[in-house]
């Protein structure tokens, strides 16, 4: 794109955005700031879930449409463990481990036998998502499960300037999201396995020829990706709630996050999650019945100008 066009589009998109921020701050500062915090905390949940999705997609070209179901599974497991033991950390571990185990099973028993068949793998994930969702419905029923925040993080944090009080748990999600992002970045960029994964994203055949057992690598990546969905599920069980249908919601969020941010890129997932989280909460706060339209407009604009997303690379 030519430089003048870049400036033109920056102005066309940036000026109304700045105008909106100024108007929002002037009109109702508290609402605006609270909405911003809500948006960012929602974004950190979206990031955790979508990072797993994009990790699996980047390495294996496997669009795991059962990702939402793994989120739901992790959330339910976390809820049950938290209810029985009262340990939130244990619930997080259980959510991660449960979803990772199911993901590992999926990779080892099904996807390993259909390498390179993108469409067929995707159809299998759709079938699995129906089955998992229905089994969960059978097991736990259709009622809403809401887990409690851990003792340390329950209740509001008071005496913050401008917004007076804000939920401790939601505020804690920001550092959790950032920590997971940093950990994932370190894992991918500073460890041996991460190096192999990055090499696999670039050239799978070459990595295999270099003597790496790609099947094990794929299984590890799939387990981590699925585990992140389960981890997000436990967080979401407190922040939102767990009920049939939430899997679709998070699947949609993951899809949009990786389409906006660029598929296979963890930094892109962070960017996409921030945009989606903010767009959704501001939409809900300022134009409740059309909030999904904003999300859609953003999706359309990104696809129109950057079909591979902000940080996506050619497949």
């Amino acid at each position: 794109m030519r430089k003048s066009w870049k400036i033109f589009w920056t102005l066309v998109i940036g000026l109304p955005l700045i105008a909106f921020v100024v108007w929002g701050l002037w009109d109702n500062t508290r609402l605006f700031v609270v909405t911003f915090l809500n948006g960012m905390t929602l974004a950190s949940l979206y990031f955790i879930v979508a990072a797993g999705f994009t990790l699996v997609f980047g390495l294996m070209r496997n669009v795991n449409l059962a990702h939402g179901s793994l989120y739901l599974l992790g959330g339910y497991l976390g809820f049950l463990v938290a209810q029985h033991t009262g340990w939130f950390v244990l619930a997080l571990a259980a959510g991660f481990a449960g979803a990772a185990l199911v993901g590992l099973l999926m990779q080892v028993s099904v996807f390993r036998f259909m390498p390179g068949e993108d469409l067929r793998q995707t159809l299998v994930t759709i079938a699995l998502s129906i089955i998992i969702a229905d089994l969960l419905l059978w097991w736990l029923g259709g009622t809403v499960h809401q887990a409690d925040a851990p003792e340390l993080l329950s209740g509001p944090l008071r005496d913050i300037p401008l917004i007076k009080a804000y939920s401790k748990y939601r505020l804690a999600l920001l550092p959790i999201g950032i920590a997971i992002g940093v950990a994932l970045w370190l894992f991918l960029n500073r460890t041996r396995v991460g190096m192999m994964i990055r090499a696999g994203v670039d050239d799978r055949a070459m990595l295999s020829a270099a003597g790496v057992n790609v099947n094990v690598l794929f299984a590890v990546t799939f387990a981590i990706g699925a585990g992140l969905a389960g981890f997000g599920g436990v967080i979401g069980a407190v922040e939102l709630s767990m009920a049939p249908g939430e899997d679709v919601r998070l699947l949609l969020a993951s899809l949009i996050v990786v389409i906006i941010g660029g598929m296979g890129s963890v930094v892109g997932a962070a960017l996409g999650a921030s945009i989606l989280g903010l767009a959704e909460t501001y939409g809900l706060a300022y134009a409740p019945t059309y909030s999904v339209v904003f999300t859609f407009v953003i999706l359309a604009l990104v696809l129109a100008f950057r079909p591979r997303g902000f940080l996506g690379r050619p497949a």
Partner: protein
């Protein structure tokens, strides 16, 4: 639009020359698509393409309501045809265009919402429904749905392959949430009730038999439209694009324009199916366009097989029979488990669906040497 127009609209001169060269190189104007040579159909030679199996199927379909109970005519027959028509649009896009769009029920739903909004719906929603004559509502709905389909196509053809499925799924689910959230146009969670087929020339299309024939007429129209399209220059170019977009591009075909046109044409088919479906159900709401139906349409298309336009109708019959009689096999609540398992088995063991399974059986038992027909 005639074939010549298509070529003029779609191709540059180089493309035309290449097409002619390719067609003549293949002998009697055939182009190998899949595993079978498809001769082009023109109207005078049209009747030659109708074989015994076509006659049997059409006669059976025509005679069906005379020996079936109204329940079977309406619930099984008409529903299968309406769903089959929507799945046919997916088969056309996915099987012949190589673009698996999950937004076909969305296009159908837009047409269905159009019927409810422009036409007449129940009294409670009278503030939204405009109450225009049914044929105006039908025409406008189909046009709007087609435009939306072309727009969805424009969005999703910007990326390729597996990305299509993600983008169309995102579009479909986003439309579902829009219907759920928005009360001023889509009437939120409740949607529209009592959206009924009209009475035309004294025939009440709500009755089982007239509605069945209406659905049958449009299904046959859709089926033969797709059959014709696949052998027209546009369809052959589309299949070429499915197999090798880069080569078709360098031959001078406008790949993007062909793909968007395919989305629009599939959109027309899906919209007609959507109108039939909303008349069949008598209501439309977010549930009619939700994820379960997005996936059900995919299941129907894959179940039947994406290699032939009869596949979706076959898949629809099996799907509707399962849906209706699953209650006798297992708990009604566990239908999703059953359909998910059936889908999984089909995808794992017979990627070409029931048609592929049938072809496999045929080649195994009828032609021992294999492949020779």
């Amino acid at each position: 639009m005639s074939a010549a127009n298509w070529r003029n609209a779609m191709n540059s001169g180089a493309g035309r020359a290449a097409m002619r060269a390719r067609v003549s190189a293949n002998g009697a104007g055939t182009l190998v698509a899949g595993d079978r040579a498809l001769p082009p159909i023109s109207i005078p030679t049209f009747w030659r393409h109708i074989g015994a199996r076509h006659v049997v199927v059409i006669l059976f379909a025509l005679a069906y309501p005379w020996f079936a109970t109204p329940f079977f005519t309406f619930q099984i027959g008409a529903q299968s045809l309406a769903l089959g028509l929507i799945a046919l649009s997916l088969t056309f896009l996915g099987g012949y265009g190589g673009m698996v769009s999950l937004a076909q029920i969305t296009v159908a739903g837009i047409a269905g919402y159009g019927i409810a909004i422009f036409g007449a719906a129940s009294a409670a929603d009278a503030t939204i429904s405009l109450g225009w004559p049914w044929w105006v509502a039908v025409l406008i709905s189909i046009v709007i749905a087609t435009v939306c389909a072309a727009f969805i196509g424009w969005l999703s053809v910007r990326t390729e392959g597996i990305y299509t499925i993600m983008i169309t799924l995102a579009v479909g689910v986003a439309f579902y949430y829009l219907c759920l959230q928005n009360y001023s146009v889509f009437n939120g969670f409740q949607g529209f009730q009592r959206v009924h087929a009209p009475t035309v020339l004294g025939v009440n299309l709500r009755d089982a038999m007239p509605f069945y024939y209406l659905a049958l007429f449009w299904s046959l129209a859709g089926y033969f439209f797709v059959k014709y399209l696949l052998r027209a220059p546009f369809g052959i170019a589309l299949q070429g694009i499915r197999d090798n977009p880069r080569r078709m591009n360098s031959l001078g075909f406008n790949v993007t324009a062909h793909r968007i046109a395919a989305y629009a044409l599939a959109g027309v088919i899906a919209a007609v199916g959507g109108v039939l479906l909303v008349w069949y159900n008598g209501l439309i709401g977010p549930g009619s366009v939700g994820t379960s139906w997005i996936i059900n349409i995919l299941i129907i298309a894959v179940l039947g097989g994406m290699r032939h336009p009869i596949g979706p109708f076959l898949g629809a019959v099996v799907f509707v029979l399962l849906q209706t009689f699953a209650i006798d096999l297992i708990d009604r609540e566990r239908f999703n488990l059953l359909i998910g398992a059936v889908f999984l088995v089909i995808v794992l063991f017979s990627p070409d669906g029931l048609l592929g399974w049938w072809a496999g059986l045929k080649s195994k038992f009828l032609t021992p040497r294999g492949g020779v027909r």
